[in-house]
Amino acid sequence: MTDVPFQEPTGEGSGRDAGGLGAPSGSDAGAERRFVRTAFVRRKERFEAWARGVFLAMAAAMIVPLVAIVGHLTYEAWPSLGLEFVLDIPRQGMTEGGIWPAFVGTLYLVGLSLAVAAPIGVLAAVYLNEYARDNWFNRVIQLAVINLAGVPSIVHALFGLGAFVYAARFGYSILSASLTLAIMTLPVIIASTREALAAVPRSFREACWNVGATRWQTIRSIVLPNSISGILTGVILQVSRAAGETAPIMFTGAVFYKAIARGDLFAYRLDEQCMALSMHLYTVTTQVPNVRESVPYATAVVLLASVLLVNATAIGLRLWLRNRKRW
């Protein structure tokens, strides 16, 4: 121990002699020994360094699976990869060729499901966060949202089959599949939107109410502009979820094979069935014999790349919107 050791709290100091300085005022020789590390401080600093190291290692470990996955997939997929693979249709009984019908199908499914889920989810979240009082009705809604988020996707699939395919008579179609995906992503969109809304400080709202703004005016002029980055990110991150799910669309509207023209973006009607990337990956891997080896991997790479691209856009958008808000 190089420092002045801790003194037992006795006597000195409790007597309040106003004149005397309780604190030792060091001479220059003493001053040089001030604030130096004691053995205990050194021990704490060692622990601190160790703790930081562990946390850093855990955070850095996240890179390993990503690099491994992307690296492995790309390596295996290499012989097939190329723009041609995306634009071409499957050939030779799906053992050769490209994935265009599946790619377009996924675009349709994800686009349509988000077009349905995003407005409903965001508006519902606005209601829950900005208008809802704490009564039984609203608590039921919140309970419903939480539980809906916990339902496994295969159960959503079965529900979609019963509700959209049969009861609503949409048949096996893009419409049924998209609506099923929408229901699946809704609760998550609601949760992330609520979080973004709750991050806007309450004092901003109070300022608005006290100049006589209605709730809607407050929301439109202050709350939404300041939470839009968080809301959009939450919505866009659901793209990857919707794009990756297989079970819900398999039950409601996705097929193994559908012949459409190469490179045709408007190939599907909404009441038709479609192919999809996730489903196609399953098919070529497990259902079709003698597929060229790189085809499943290339399919996975396209799926992954599209999702990463969308996520990167979300991050960019978020940064851009963030920079414009200052508080």
């Binding site: 709290p9 100091g13 300085l21 604190a23 005022s25 001479s27 001053a31 604030f35």
Partner: protein, 258 residues
């Protein structure tokens, strides 16, 4: 007072930048030991920034560059072998809004002890005694001795602020920095904190930032007037208020701008 170290804190050519914005410009100041020094000046002139330099807590905020020298009790706190842990133990800070931790009154007071001492050194008796002493010193013992288990955040604001001061005391700080400690309090609370500061004076060096001219006049021994990151004037309080040397000081203390 020890003649070789009459000043608790001295700075030499202290400059500080937030990014590219210079918040402190060539600050040279020597603050007396064991007395109350008030720092006054218009909003944004760098009072809080200067205060935060004294225990190097500015470094926790990103993008801060500092040059120059700061000596606390004769020791240059930018020396490489200075431990920030020990420095901050000796130089405590009280904030504008009382910030008791959301734990019991008792645990708030012993928080510092628990952090700075190995568990085996902290007997129950020693903790109890530290709590009683610290709370007595800030004048809370009588009110709170039966409510030591109460959540600190449920106290009145004035009590919370006193508790925040009490939280520093078991560590035997040398310097207590107070950043507008009364601005969230009413008249009574303000008076109580001021009385407490006068009680603590002598045993601790107190440095208070305030926007309240009357308060600076009432409690401080010396007064520092700052403007745009610079120290304009630093004298004994009566002198600064009665015969300010600089016309800008005169204008400010007379309330012509603020």
């Amino acid at each position: 007072m020890n003649p070789t170290a009459p000043h608790a804190i001295t700075t030499k050519g202290l400059n500080l930048w937030y990014g590219t914005f210079q918040a402190l410009v060539d600050v040279n100041v020597a603050l007396p030991h064991g007395l109350i020094t008030a720092m006054i000046g218009p909003s944004g002139c760098g009072k809080t920034t200067l205060l935060r330099c004294f225990n190097r807590v500015n470094e926790r905020y990103g993008g801060v560059t500092t040059t120059g020298e700061i000596r606390v009790l004769g020791r240059n706190i930018y020396d490489p072998d200075v431990s920030l842990i020990e420095l901050r133990k000796a130089v405590g800070m009280v904030f504008q809004r009382p910030n008791p931790l959301p734990i019991s009154v008792y645990e708030n007071v012993v928080f510092g002890l628990r952090i700075h001492h190995p568990r085996r050194e902290l007997s129950r008796a020693r903790l109890d005694e530290a709590v009683e002493r610290a709370l007595t010193e800030v004048g809370l013992w009588g009110d709170l001795k039966d409510r030591l288990d109460a959540r600190a955040t449920s106290l009145q604001l004035e009590q919370q602020q006193k508790l925040c001061i009490a939280r520093l005391l078991p560590l035997k700080p040398e310097v207590i920095l107070l950043d507008e400690p009364c601005s969230a309090l009413d008249v009574e609370g303000t008076r109580a904190i001021e009385e407490l500061m006068c009680e603590l004076k002598g045993r601790y060096t107190l440095i208070i930032v305030t926007h309240n001219m009357a308060q600076a006049r009432r409690i401080s021994d010396e007064c520092v007037f700052m403007l745009l990151g610079q120290i304009i004037e630093h004298r004994r309080t009566e002198a600064l208020f009665l015969q300010p040397a600089d016309s800008r000081t005169a204008d400010y203390v007379e309330g012509r701008y603020g």
